[in-house]
């Protein structure tokens, strides 16, 4: 596999179980060394897609390559490069935290430096204090952390994490994402599914999955732009903005969509690029004798972005 080849590539990837199509003609082209966030509601086909990419499932149609190979034909060496954290806790409740990590290290053939690695991961996941506890006696959040530590034990090049932050408190969740970013810096590619759409902001690329269809794949900013037609600038003036003035703003060359009034002296303007549009807007207001109180780029919550994208998609269909 050449360095520039995509880490994960799929074309018209389809999976039907029984008579139900779970994944419907999905296309992927994920470069190595970044975080790919796979976002979508529960039951939309995220886990099935991960199972297709890890070779657990055979595709019903289409093509898929992971690290340049068919996942169902992975060799042992290929599998040693992959880490997989399933959605549910899949370790041993009657083993201690440390014993579970030792087991995970063993099945990946980790020999030298195992003790140090286990200690490092337990410290990272705040499980060091609980290392002698049985996995059945630790909380659900701790079990997620234990699963994550077990997945990372062999320093994989490609990580598939199926909802790693589910059931984890917000502080630790952020810590997880910080660690994922650190892994990415070290060259690891991460394929992460999540139901928390707000987490998409932590990803380099985001795929939006709805009912087996991959609606969009883009950077978080790109998705925002897709959702709203461009970047959104919030403009607040000291005086009331007249309707005629809003109509004039809509005619400006860098404005991409109909301007929305949110208050009598506040509007949301969709522009090509906020950084260049803001000075132009301020200049236009000055010319119109409309004193500007404040202006800023509006970063809408990703929940709004996804709801908008899904609505747009539904309209198109």
């Amino acid at each position: 596999m050449a360095h520039n080849d995509p880490m994960i590539w799929g074309k018209d990837l389809t999976k039907t179980i029984g008579t139900q199509a779970i994944v419907k003609g999905v296309n992927f082209d994920i470069p190595r060394g970044l975080i790919f966030g796979f976002v979508g509601p529960s039951g939309c086909g995220k886990t099935t897609t991960i199972r297709l990419l890890t070779g657990i499932y055979r595709p019903s149609g289409g093509e898929v390559r992971v690290m340049g190979k068919l996942p169902t034909k992975f060799t042992r060496r290929d599998r040693e490069k992959i880490g997989y954290m399933p959605q549910h806790f899949a370790l041993y409740p009657d083993l201690t935290v440390r014993e579970n990590l030792n087991f995970a290290a063993s099945i990946y053939g980790v020999g030298l430096g195992r003790r140090a690695r286990i200690k490092q991961l337990m410290q990272f996941t705040d499980l060091f204090e609980h290392q002698w506890k049985l996995a059945r006696h630790i909380s659900g959040g701790m079990q997620r952390r234990l699963s994550l530590a077990a997945t990372l034990i062999h320093r994989p090049e490609l990580l598939f994490l199926d909802e790693p932050t589910a059931g984890v408190d917000p502080i630790l969740r952020q810590k997880f994402w910080d660690y994922f970013a650190q892994l990415r810096l070290n060259g690891t590619t991460l394929f992460i599914t999540t139901q928390y759409v707000a987490e998409a902001v932590n990803c380099d690329l985001v795929g939006l999955m709805v009912e087996g269809n991959l609606l969009a794949v883009d950077t978080p900013a790109g998705l925002r732009r897709s959702a709203f037609g461009g970047e959104v600038v919030v403009l607040k003036t000291q005086d009331t903005i007249e309707s005629t003035q809003i109509a004039m703003i809509d005619q400006l060359p860098f404005v991409r969509a109909k301007t929305k009034r949110t208050d009598e002296n506040e509007i949301h303007v969709v522009v090509d690029e906020a950084s260049t549009a803001i000075p132009a807007l301020v200049e236009w207001c000055t010319k119109q004798h409309l004193p500007v109180d404040s202006y800023q780029e509006y970063l809408s919550p990703f929940d709004d972005v996804f709801v908008t994208l899904i609505k747009k998609q539904s309209k198109d269909m």
């Binding site: 070779g55 060496r77 599998r79 997989y84 399933p86 806790f89 899949a90 099945i107």
Partner: protein, 442 residues
Amino acid sequence: MFRFLIRVSAFISKELAEILRQTPLILTLVLGPFLILLLFGIGYRSEARPLRTLFVLNNDSDLKQQVEDYAKNLGPQLIYMGITPDQGSAIRALRSGAVDLVVVVPEDALKTIQDNRQAVIHIYHNEIDPYQASYVEYFGSVYIDALNHRFLHSTTEQSQAEASSVQGEVHTARVSIQNLQQAMDQGGIQAGVSDKRQLVDKMEEDLTNLDTKLTAFDRMDPTVMITPFLGEIKGMANINIKPAEFFAPAVIILLLQHLAVTFASLAIVREQRSGTMELFRVSPLGSFEALAGKYLSYLIFGGTLAALITATVILGLKVPMQGAWRDYALVILVLLFTSLGLGFLISLVAKTEMQSVQYAMFLLLGSVFFSGFFLDLRYLSEPIRSLSWALPATYGIRLLQDIMLRGTSVNLVPFFALLGIGVGMFIVAWWLLRRRLQQEWS
């Protein structure tokens, strides 16, 4: 009250729905024991076990024909296996299980009886089961009684033949006396002196014969006359085995088989249920590595348990150990290996842990009935008996009884048969696990 009933009804409907959705499990629970009892009923032979009997007798023995006639006509409980002059080969046949009894008839049996002593017939058996040994001893005494009866019958016939000759001699003597009287009455004594002399000599000879026979009869020991043959029954085992001691090896084997099967039967189905199999599918772990690891761990665990059980049986219950510990350990190891294979197969077939446990219990019940644990396999008819040889316990019980109670070394045929089954099960379990790991997850 109404709410109480509603709450109770919640469990009634829930439990019934859960039970009814496990149809295979219910069928196994209900039909399994019935099936075992049915098979047992079909296979069980209630009549007394016939004994394959080999006689040791010189080819030129006077008794050869008689023994052969007796043996062939004694009844269905004795299967005549022939006559051999070689006692050593007969004992080897007994040890190998080719025959059930060896009857050694002394070379000089008739002479011994004529010398007014009982001829001792040695009957050898290889039973260690006290009940079977009692049966063989009883059968042996019946056989000797029958032999005595027949011998007495034939001797009486012979004596009757001899009595008629004695009667002839008495008749001749009477005729001689009459002739002598006639000659004396006619007064022709002088004329027939030599004839009269002959008549007197003949009379004396006849009376001497009669006297000899009566003297011999008079000297005869009544015991020897009534029971000319005495049976001495000997077992090949060097010790007197009590019932509790006899059952000890079977209990060890059955316990270890059940433990190994139960633990192994849960091993893979539990991985399947917990989702760790999904992790294995993505990991570089191979099916052979997973299975070998599981085998080794349970062998260590089973071996430790076996050591504890053995210590309890030997030190606590004072069950004798006649053979070598190395042989004992070897048999336990192979039994555990084969039982684990059986357990892993159950684990790969069962869908739930409850099903696995149920299958393991079903196997235990089958082993109690068909492994020879409480009923000698010779009381089972074919093809039911063949079922017994599918159970590791059947081989294990025999091997361990031989080592512990007979003091023999490992019997290679059942040992390698057990090992072969174990290897076969390992290969099938490996293939099934490999398929499971390659199959789509559902």
